[in-house]
């Protein structure tokens, strides 16, 4: 579907409180177009819980249950169970959580809900750090990145939550990002039309957190895919496939040098030659693994 053909319905209204250039609002706007009004959002503590606007107003036009930081998937489990009992299974319970709430503090509830076969969609927008509390490292922060808790650059590589989720053997797992809105829309729509646990992770470059200009959010997401730092894939009932631009790289197109992406971000300003080697070899390793599988 072309971008001009996306539904005109807007569920993210004017008056939300996100930073200019925020990736969350772009992602959520498209995701909600695919999900439609029969959606209940469960949102743990994260930027998305702050940007809804101040009580008693709201910039989001679907019902939202805000819930504790580590509890999103358990919250969706409760909504899902109740909807079943109320015979309202046309309504989709959807978690909308940051990487902190998914990779770190919420991973237990997430794993539990996936393993139980909960009927819900879990969407993690991954901005690679805790932005709500002012840019601290998370399990999704990449090697070398500055955050306010990794002043000299993070010493560890990020974990691969997508791989952990895939190990739960759920019907649908996908990655997406805001610079490929048709791909993102199609994936959310596909997930919506399935049952059981579905997981989508949306890569979300954050201008204040990554130290780049707010006009460059989309470009930053596109470059992440073109350099292979973020990979777009989809797994339906165990059938794994790369999609969109990542598929082209897999089929032979050159990956752009990772430096092109890193150098635009203030958080990587201090990287040494040695750091660059580490980042490159980690990236090669990841791609080689995917090429083999």
């Amino acid at each position: 579907m072309a971008i001009k053909d996306l539904p005109r319905d807007e569920y993210l209204l004017k008056g939300h409180a996100a930073c200019p250039g925020c990736p969350i609002t772009v992602a959520l706007r498209i995701a909600l177009k695919a999900l439609g009004n029969k959606t209940i959002l469960v949102i743990p503590a994260c930027c998305s819980s702050v940007i809804q606007a101040l009580y008693p107003k709201s910039g989001f036009n679907v019902p939202i249950l805000n819930i504790a930081f580590e509890a999103a998937a358990a919250g969706a489990s409760g909504v899902s169970a109740a909807l079943k009992k109320l015979d309202k299974t046309d309504i989709t319970p959807v978690v909308w959580a940051g990487d902190g709430g998914s990779y770190d503090i919420g991973i237990q509830a997430l794993s539990g809900a996936l393993e139980r076969g909960t009927n819900f969609i879990y969407i993690c927008y991954n901005n690679q750090m805790y932005s709500n509390t002012g840019i601290q490292r998370s399990g999704a922060t990449p090697y070398g990145a500055w955050t306010t808790t990794t002043w000299t650059g993070k010493k560890e590589h990020q974990k691969e939550l997508g791989e952990i989720v895939r190990a739960h053997h759920i019907p649908y797992v996908a990655t997406a990002t805001i610079s490929y809105p048709e791909d993102l829309y199609a994936k959310v729509l596909k997930a919506k039309n399935m049952k059981g646990p579905r997981y989508i992770e949306i890569f979300a470059p954050c201008p204040p957190g990554w130290r780049f200009d707010m006009s460059k959010t989309i470009e930053m997401a596109r470059l992440a895919v073109e350099t292979g730092a973020w990979i777009l894939y989809e797994e339906i009932d165990g059938q794994f496939a790369f999609t969109s631009y990542s598929k082209k790289i897999l089929e032979g197109r050159d990956r752009k040098p990772i430096e092109e992406w890193l150098q635009l971000q203030g958080r990587f300003r201090h990287l040494t030659e040695d750091d660059m080697k580490k980042i490159n070899s980690h990236l090669d390793e990841k791609w080689n693994q995917y090429k083999k599988s």
Binding site: L54, V79, A109, R116
Partner: protein, 371 residues
């Protein structure tokens, strides 16, 4: 119908008869039998509920909160460390004004691992906005669970409610009790009418950023609901009495009218204290007993005797017995005993001994340090 069964089986039966639509629970000694029993009901098709086999108590409480917010009646059960793990979400349920009902089987807190009863687990949740009931018999477990739903779901209240009972002393002990017919329970407890719901036709955002003033308003309205709950608990208890022959209030008074000294205690200790009162009366002592049925709301208006001997099976380190200190604002002579911590046995003989000690103007940690 008279049945003979354990506290845990009775709690599960009461939950079943209240017809919750979603149950989420996680096993922990000495509550485990409750989750097992419910699984049995569900798998045999005797209970039409979504039973969520959550991976933790934190998730159990979260799932109940979310299901309640979606518009259905919920139930969970826990004990001790499970209750402590829920702590954050207990506040969440209270502040969300969702009438989640649960049972907590009182058990000591580790380390070391101690599965025997004391009340520190539930009493350390007393500021979370939950109505708290305590049972001193299996009959009271049953009666409290059903009434808890009716009270919590009252549109003037909309607060979660917890029914606590002692691990092993009640949870694993069979006692005879009267279980009314399902049709009578259905007539007593109407279907759940939620105060607010997540409704796609009328979307609301629940729990977003709030400024101090409206937040304080929310707290104030909770406090008013708690105060109001005193009246509703009384009314529902009287209605229960009319229908089933066992009236309830905020407290149960026993032989207090002409008493020189009145014990104040709760849960299983209160059953033991009742025996002590009878024995003391036989010996010519004018003893009485107040069994606290609720701790939240705290039944201040019912505690109007001089020489109250407060027995706490709980301790706030650095302060003392929790119930004793909650009562301190009352202008009566009171004696404080800390007893039975960690499940140390407290018999009626010990309680009679405390009566003598209070007469000698003594109080303290029984029997470790009394002066």
């Amino acid at each position: 119908m008279i049945v003979i069964d354990t506290g845990n089986n009775i709690a599960a039966l009461a939950a079943k008869m209240a017809r919750p639509k979603v149950i989420a629970a996680y096993p922990i000694t000495p509550q485990t039998k409750v989750v097992e029993r419910i699984a049995e009901f569900v798998e045999k098709g005797e209970l039409d509920t979504e039973y969520i086999h959550v991976e933790s108590e934190h998730s159990a409480m979260t799932a109940c909160i979310a299901a309640s917010a979606t518009g259905v009646r919920t139930f969970t059960a826990t004990a001790s460390h499970g209750l402590l793990l829920m702590h954050e979400m207990l506040h969440w349920a209270g502040l969300s004004r969702l009438p989640v009902v649960m049972v907590n089987v009182n058990r000591s807190i580790g380390p070391g691992w101690n599965i025997w009863s004391d009340l520190n687990d539930s009493l350390s949740q007393r500021d979370t906005g939950w109505i708290q009931f305590y049972a001193s018999s299996n009959q009271e477990i049953f009666d409290n669970v059903i009434q808890a739903y009716k009270i919590a779901e009252n549109e003037e209240i909309f607060l979660p409610a917890m029914v606590s009972y002692d691990g092993f002393i009640l949870s694993h002990t069979s006692m005879p009790l009267d279980v009314p017919d399902q049709s009578k329970i259905d007539a007593f407890l109407p279907a759940f009418k939620p105060g607010w719901t997540l409704d796609v036709e009328h979307p609301i955002t629940h729990g977003n950023i709030v400024s101090p003033k409206p937040y304080m308003d929310i707290r104030y309205s909770m406090e008013k609901a708690m105060k109001k709950a005193q009246k509703i608990i009384q009314e529902v208890g009287e209605e229960w009495g009319k229908k089933f022959g066992r009236p309830y209030g905020l407290v149960q008074e026993y032989r207090c009218d002409d008493a020189d000294y009145v014990f104040v205690t709760m849960a299983a200790l209160a059953a033991e204290a009742k025996v002590a009162v009878d024995n003391l009366r036989d010996k010519g002592e004018k003893a009485g007993l107040i069994n606290l049925r609720t701790v939240r709301p705290f039944p201040y208006s019912q505690l109007k005797y001089d020489n109250m001997i407060v027995i706490d099976r709980d301790i706030s380190p650095g302060l003392g017995g929790i119930i004793y200190h909650e009562m301190k604002k009352l202008n009566y002579t009171m004696y404080s005993f800390i007893a039975g911590i960690g499940g140390v046995d407290v018999s009626y003989k010990d309680i009679e001994r405390m009566y003598q000690l209070a007469q000698d103007d003594k109080e303290g940690w029984y029997p470790l340090e009394v002066k």
